[in-house]
């Protein structure tokens, strides 16, 4: 038998350091649900999701009890709806959005992702219809998440899509701020992401797949407290060892879920996903490395070390690693980040720099309600450029907080937390965004 200290270490990680499985996400292909009649298409989608995912929550809860590990979310991701609905003659894609919402509620999952379009090189008619329907769909549904991929390293940046998404986010925020929390704009979106709001079941995926996202900022934070004052070599090694353990737990759970549901195992996402709970913060890990507050000089280097060490530690613990894999830095979902913004130490510009070395991008950022669509589009363009040039995923999940100005607070509740409203530049990006067209792919995309 293992030693008492090893066993108690695991128990303490779960009991006191917020170690959990953040999500088990069942990816489902909807390719065979296409139909020219949108009502029939919606029915096929609803039926297929309900049949494939009917046991997801039950099995998730069973694993939770047997393994003694909290599984915070059970989710579903589906084929991008713009592809599934392409043969529908109707423009009212909201019907499909509502079918997704109904299916998610029937299955008892927390969220369903895939109300999505991939437009990094151009729009199909269906892409345009889907994007136009996003604001209303996110308002009329509760559990549906939407994402739009506007750039890839291979294709460059579709600036028409960037401009359009600026307007869509603005329109969504005017109807319902929480809608923006369910909408992500990506560069280099991945096909097997288990995390919301950006999960969808990509074109290269099989019929179904189980993808698991682990979490454990609290465990890493605690481990680093034990090596206070040591050199960075020790810090990196400590994070690697901790990430290995966290990921192994994800792997065991993913395998159990795959076997019990009869669905192939896809990937484990080597993530550090914070929550608003005290002691479950990525920002606090960076501060533990010796920064007075997250956002001060040195933060980007600390995050780079953390992100790299998490991957190195995790990669050997799972036989298939994928998704976004790295540390998330969502402002509203991280107690330490909120504190840093409130104290004026963490600005949008610093967050942008941090996204060069973390797993995704500007996540759950609230900006003043009067921020115009061109400014939002320009923020998306900057993030997309970072992703495209660095061959990494970047994303923007930004919430223009209606009626609020910089320094105010917007409350979302639950896992989404609350976000301090951050200031944006006042100078205009209008002419830049109005140009349209495509920013060409970078030279290093030509690797053949």
């Amino acid at each position: 038998m293992l030693s008492i200290s090893d066993i108690m270490q695991t128990v303490n990680m779960i009991d006191h350091q917020h170690l959990d499985i953040r999500t088990i996400t069942l990816g489902i292909s909807l390719d065979d649900c296409a139909d020219p009649d949108i009502n029939k298409c919606s029915r096929k989608i609803y039926d297929k999701i309900c049949s494939r995912a009917k046991n997801l929550v039950k099995v998730g809860c069973e694993i939770e009890r047997e393994f003694g590990i909290p599984i915070i979310n059970k989710r579903i991701s589906v084929t991008p709806i713009a592809q599934v609905a392409a043969s529908c003659s109707s423009s009212d894609y909201g019907i499909i959005g509502r079918a997704l919402d109904d299916a998610a509620k029937e299955c008892g999952v927390n969220f369903i992702g895939g109300y999505s379009a991939l437009v990094h090189k151009g729009f199909t008619k269906s892409d345009k219809k889907l994007i136009a329907s996003i604001p209303e769909t996110l308002t009329q549904t509760e559990l549906v998440c939407s994402s739009v991929n506007v750039a890839t390293t291979k294709a460059g940046i579709n600036m028409d899509a960037v401009a359009l998404m600026g307007e869509i986010i603005k329109r969504t925020s005017e109807i319902n701020a929480i809608g923006c929390a369910k909408l992500v704009v990506f560069a280099n979106a991945v096909e097997d992401n288990p995390f919301m709001a950006g999960a969808f079941h990509g074109a290269g995926e099989g019929e179904c797949a189980i993808n698991v996202g682990v979490s454990g900022p609290g465990v890493v934070w605690k481990a680093l407290q034990e090596v206070r004052g040591e050199k960075f070599d020790i810090v990196a090694e400590t994070i690697k060892r901790t990430a290995f353990r966290i990921t192994r737990m994800g792997q065991v759970v993913a395998q159990a879920a795959s076997e019990r549901l009869g669905v192939p195992f896809g990937i484990v996402d080597l993530s550090l996903a914070p929550t608003p709970a005290k002691g479950d913060s990525v920002a606090r890990i960076l501060e533990e490395m010796g920064l007075e507050i997250c956002g001060t000089h040195g933060t980007t280097a600390a995050l780079a070390l953390l992100n790299d060490a998490v991957k190195k530690g995790g990669v050997m613990a799972s036989n298939h690693v994928g998704g976004l894999s790295g540390a998330f830095i969502p402002v509203s979902e991280d107690e330490g980040m909120i504190n840093a913004v409130n104290k004026g130490a963490l600005s949008l510009e610093k967050l942008e720099a941090m996204t060069c070395v973390c797993s995704v991008g500007l996540d759950m950022i609230a900006v003043p309600g009067d921020t115009d669509s061109d400014t939002i589009a320009a923020i998306i363009a900057d993030e997309a450029a970072i992703g495209v040039i660095n061959s990494k995923t970047t994303a923007v999940r930004i919430i223009p907080a209606k009626g609020k100005k910089a320094g105010d607070v917007i409350e979302f509740g639950g896992l989404l937390g609350s976000a301090p409203v951050m200031s944006v530049k006042e100078s205009s990006s209008h002419e830049f965004i109005s140009r349209g067209g495509r920013i060409p792919a970078p030279i290093h995309s030509l690797r053949n």
Binding site: M1, L2, S3, M8, T10, F67, G68
Partner: protein, 89 residues
């Protein structure tokens, strides 16, 4: 199913007896036990086999939780796989 149990509580007489009597009454076989007292805190880990029991895992877990609550013991029971995966390469 092989499971790891942990029991922690301020040290006192009869903790092992109470936990093991309950396991025996439910037909759960104990394969290995480690026990120590750290800073006055009684800490015990057990490797048990629940397949010898006629009770379902959930029932065993509830009975242990109930016993833990009534006697102020902190008791966990989890599949052993998770510990092996996390601590062995």
């Amino acid at each position: 199913m092989k499971a790891i149990m942990t029991v922690t509580a301020p040290d006192r007489v009869g903790i092992i007896a109470s936990v093991c009597t309950l396991l025996a009454s439910m037909g759960v076989n104990i394969l290995d036990i480690n026990q120590t007292v750290m800073d006055g805190i009684f800490t015990m880990t057990l490797l048990v086999d629940t397949s010898t029991s006629s009770h379902k895992f959930d029932e065993i877990k509830s009975a242990l939780t109930e016993r833990g609550e009534s006697e102020k013991l902190n008791i966990h029971i989890q599949r052993a796989d998770i510990f092996n995966a996390m601590h062995r390469v």
